[in-house]
């Protein structure tokens, strides 16, 4: 496949606007501003069935459609670049290799939804991305792509970069908007949704970096071109992040629906050191784990959910047979316990409790009832909270326990971890 999103990856200085323009950047913007009305842009994106790349897979066109169109209200576009999901780093690659594609996408999206300000909520850890983005935005402004009267069309738009301060929960749409407003990143109660009450309590669209990066291409080449890639209802190019026990970890751009097996074996070059595949977290750490037998599944939204997991952010974490699944599960659990915002009871207490139980099992202090208890706690958390963080914790933990139960039982029975006896524990939680 011709790379689309990663087309400028290997071009030197691709972040410079002149080189980017030479490679075709801002062509779509010119087309939009000269030849298309906002509804036409919207229709094109709608027709392309561009599903959100942030994890939930909600069609971007629908999101734009639900936006409160009251002309008296200020509308905002918010780009979710708070890429905190462990195992995911595709947005960083886009921002660091082709920032102008994102900026162009944002301008077009602002045009389509009649917003005049776009915010990029950038993950605080991405210092390099911040430097590149701010430079790119300044250059875009110099070239007249941003600011008042863009390219003489009379359309005004500005893009601001907000640097997050370190909280996974801010990747959640409404928590991000709270954080942008200067508050603790506590997800808001829904409804009202961001489309009616978002940033600064005004209608807001929140889209992922990769989603917005697709927009210029759709506008330029048409919805049909976009739909030529992938499978039914899961169209377009997709960035897959491979990490963990693979020979060639990294970001790969492939059509939606490439199978997981292909990704690991062909793109990733297989498992190193001749070891065997044990488990995969296919959609970032908040997706349900798949075993080695289950990896022959197309990586698209629908197939993955049919397989009992989810495409999520397509952050594929590969684990070989040297991995202690209890330890991995505990690691995931601690992550969520640390990142739970503390608002809803089940998540605040449940993530911490499960993490502590799993820690006990891993240390060899587990008791026979602990495994079932952990599962019931997971059940009690699932679907009981304002946002999906608790669900994101439950999916991997529950699936790992269920699929590798024997390993957990062995920890309890032997009173020790079979993969390495003495370890020192690092935890943000009190033990």
């Amino acid at each position: 496949m011709e790379p689309v999103l990663l087309a400028k990856r290997h071009i030197e200085n691709s972040t410079d606007i002149n080189i980017a323009i030479g490679e075709g950047a801002y062509k779509a913007l010119q087309k939009v501003l000269t030849a298309m009305s906002p509804p036409q842009v919207h229709k094109e994106v709608m027709d392309a069935v561009l599903r959100g790349r942030g994890g939930a897979g909600f069609p971007a066109g629908l999101k734009w459609k639900f936006l409160d169109k009251n002309p008296k209200r200020t509308r905002y576009l918010c780009c979710n670049a708070d890429e905190s999901e462990p195992g995911t780093f595709k947005d960083r690659v886009i921002m660091e290799t082709d920032p102008h594609m994102l900026i162009e996408g944002m301008i077009i999206a602002c045009y389509a939804i009649d917003a005049h300000a776009g915010y990029i909520f950038l993950r605080g850890e991405y210092a390099n991305s911040f430097r590149i983005l701010t430079k790119a935005i300044a250059q875009a402004r110099e070239h007249g792509f941003l600011g008042d009267n863009v390219l003489g069309s009379g359309f005004n738009v500005n893009i601001h970069v907000h640097v997050g301060a370190g909280a996974y929960i801010c990747g959640e749409e409404l928590a991000m908007l709270e954080s942008l407003g200067g508050a603790r990143g506590w997800p808001r109660l829904k409804p009202p949704y961001a489309a009616t009450r978002g940033l600064f309590y005004e209608p807001t669209v929140v889209n992922n970096v990769e989603t917005l990066a697709c927009v210029p291409h759709i506008v330029l080449r048409g919805a049909d071109w976009f739909k030529g890639m992938g499978s039914e209802n899961n169209y377009g190019p997709k960035l897959y992040c491979l990490s963990g026990h693979v020979n060639k970890p990294g970001v790969y751009e492939l059509p939606m629906g490439t199978t997981l097996k292909q990704l690991i074996d062909q793109s990733g070059g297989g498992i190193p050191n001749g070891r065997k595949l044990k488990a995969v977290l296919p959609g970032g750490s908040s997706s349900a784990a798949l075993t080695a037998e289950e990896v022959d599944v197309p990586m698209d939204f629908d197939s993955m959910s049919k397989a009992g997991s989810m495409l999520g952010s397509a952050g594929i974490i590969v684990m070989d047979d040297s991995t202690c699944m209890v330890n991995a599960c505990w690691n995931v659990a601690r992550f969520y316990a640390h990142e739970s915002c503390g608002q809803c009871t089940p998540c605040r207490e449940g993530t911490n409790w499960v993490a502590r139980i799993l820690g006990r099992i891993e240390r060899g202090q587990g008791e026979p009832g602990d495994i079932d208890m952990a599962l019931t706690i997971c059940d009690n958390m699932l679907g009981q909270t304002i946002c999906a963080l608790a669900d994101g914790a439950v999916f991997p933990i529950r699936s790992i326990i269920q699929k590798f139960r024997a390993e957990f039982e062995r920890h309890v029975r032997d009173g020790a971890c079979p993969f390495g006896a003495k370890r020192k524990w690092y935890s943000v939680l009190p033990e």
Binding site: Q343, E349, R360, Q384
Partner: protein
């Protein structure tokens, strides 16, 4: 208006209300921690989950608006499972110190644990412990008892408006608190201890005084300002231990201020008058009730016969109930001294308005409005404008002063001088003051917590007060005392009970009702001079 079904019962809910409100209307109880009718909706405790047809998840009753044709179930196994799960989660890090926690007995967490909980703990890890903190004039914070319902945070933001209670940290370490060094000293702080569903915020004043199940609650009205917040007097063994606001949409909403909250101390104070006193050889000495009534009425009759009824003046404080004011005015009418009837005004303070609209009025006495209504009904039109002119009483031979504990100090001094100069000064009150010092005879009366009657607040809402216990010592009920004096003078009044006086009041005063008709939330006098009510 949408019609919904909750547990097979149909209700027509108001547009824009929630499942919780509709269920409350039907009398179906859904448990709640973070939901408080006086605050915005947080939806974070997750215990009010109910099953709604066509919804895969449990929906939070507090946050889900009603929709036409909605079918809600609150009693299914899934709902119960959700409640049980939340109970278990909340108890994980909650200390089991109910025996020493003041909230025990009225603790929502405790109650729900019995009703919805597992009954046993599966938690084997260490609980997160914290020391108690002193966070305000009357507030202690036991952060480890907190269940993070954030009612206090919302209260501080929405009602008090000072925003000083916040949420800190995150995850399991999330806690409620104040910035180091900040104290919650505003005048609504006491409500924070009230709305806290657990014993995280406790009142220092009430700390360890009593277990709550020993307390009896009597419906009353706060006398500390002319808003007249509906309150509950929590008392035991003839002493009030604390006051709590009683929800009244007509008056105070859900809240009350700390001035009123601490005002109960006057009821049990050492300054209370407990025996009738009469001046003998220049000193006030204790005498019996029968003697004091006989002497006092004798002196009043004497003054009337010797100097005429105009030598006699009657002063009533704004602490008196409407019924007492009526009796008093009747007495003045019988003796023919209506032109010398005066109001002893209440204390004045700063009018304070809070972000949420709650107001503390500048008139810091309970019933100036009502007493004035009564006095003006009786007084001749030409003397009505002098109703608060106490200076005009100088030189009167006889004075009968019905004093109160919330009276203006300057006026008391003024009256004390008039009393000292008069031949005879009968002072009727409940606490000793410069006025009782200057009196010829002192009649010990009741405090608001000990009597029955009605108060009319600044906005014309007539509310009933109920007696919690008897007055201390030999102190009597003010209404009876006035009746007895009238009887002894030879002018018995046409009613003998407070209820009868109240009925008389309802007949005579425009817009008034008798105390039985006021209900728990009071009667809003449609002809009141100031319309509208403060909302809390």
């Amino acid at each position: 208006m949408p019609v919904i079904r909750i547990d097979q019962r149909e209700i027509e809910a108001d547009e824009g209300t929630t499942i919780m409100q509709a269920a409350d209307k039907l009398g179906i109880f859904i448990p709640r921690y973070c939901y408080h009718p006086g605050l915005s909706i947080a939806g974070c405790c997750r215990i009010c989950g109910v099953e709604v047809e066509d919804s895969p998840k449990l929906l939070m009753a507090c946050a889900t608006p009603v929709k036409e044709g909605m079918v809600v179930r609150t009693d299914t196994e899934r709902v119960k499972m959700g409640q049980r799960a939340v109970e278990e989660f909340l108890l994980l890090n909650h200390p089991l110190d109910c025996p020493v926690c003041d909230q025990a007995g009225e603790c929502v967490l405790q109650d729900y644990s019995f009703t919805y909980g597992f009954g046993e703990s599966r938690f084997r890890e260490q609980k997160i412990k914290q020391r108690k903190k002193d966070v305000g004039r009357d507030l202690l914070l036991y952060a480890d008892r907190c269940i993070m319902c954030t009612r206090c945070v919302r209260f501080a933001h929405e009602v008090s408006g000072h925003d000083q209670v916040g949420v800190f940290n995150r995850g399991a370490h999330t806690e409620i608190g104040v910035f180091p060094g900040i104290r919650i000293d505003d005048l609504l702080a006491g409500n924070i201890a009230d709305i806290c569903p657990v014993g995280a915020f406790l009142s220092k004043d009430f700390l360890f005084k009593r277990r709550v199940w020993e307390l009896k609650s009597t419906k009353s009205v706060c006398p500390a300002c002319s808003v007249g917040c509906s309150v509950l007097l929590d008392h035991a063994d003839g002493r009030i231990h604390r006051l709590r606001p009683r929800h009244n949409p007509n008056v105070n909403g859900h809240w009350m201020c700390d001035i009123g909250r601490m005002d109960y101390k006057m009821v049990g104070s050492a300054d209370r008058l407990k025996k009738p006193l009469a001046r003998k050889n220049g000193m006030l000495e204790e005498i019996s009730w029968s003697d004091v009534i006989a002497y006092a009425s004798g002196r009043i009759r004497q003054i009337i016969t010797r100097h005429g009824a105009d030598a006699l003046a009657f002063v009533i404080s704004s602490d008196a109930t409407n019924e007492e004011a009526l009796t008093f005015a009747k007495l003045a009418e019988k003796t023919g001294s209506l032109q010398n009837l005066r109001l002893l005004s209440g204390k004045r303070g700063e009018r304070i308005e809070f972000a949420g609209g709650f107001v503390i009025e500048s008139d810091r006495s309970p019933n100036e409005h009502g007493v004035l209504d009564v006095l003006k009904e009786f007084m001749p039109r030409e003397s009505q404008e002098r109703v608060t002119d106490l200076g005009s009483l100088a030189g009167k031979r006889g004075l009968y002063i019905f004093c109160g504990s919330h009276s203006d100090r300057g006026s008391i001094q003024l009256l004390a001088r008039a009393a000292a100069a008069a031949d005879f000064a009968l002072v009727h009150g409940n606490v000793s003051s410069p006025l009782t010092e200057a009196a010829t005879m002192v009649l010990p009366g009741a405090a608001y917590a000990e009597k029955e009657g009605t108060y009319t607040n600044l906005r014309g809402v007539i509310q009933r007060i109920h007696p919690a216990f008897d007055p201390p010592g030999d102190a009597g009920h003010d209404f009876d005392i006035v009746l007895q004096i009238a009887g002894a003078i030879g002018n018995s009044l046409p009613f003998q009970t407070v209820a009868a006086a109240s009925a008389e009041l309802a007949r005579r005063l425009r817009g008034y009702v008798s105390m039985e008709q006021t209900g728990d939330t009071g009667w809003v006098n449609p002809y009141s001079r100031v319309a509208g009510a403060t909302k809390g």
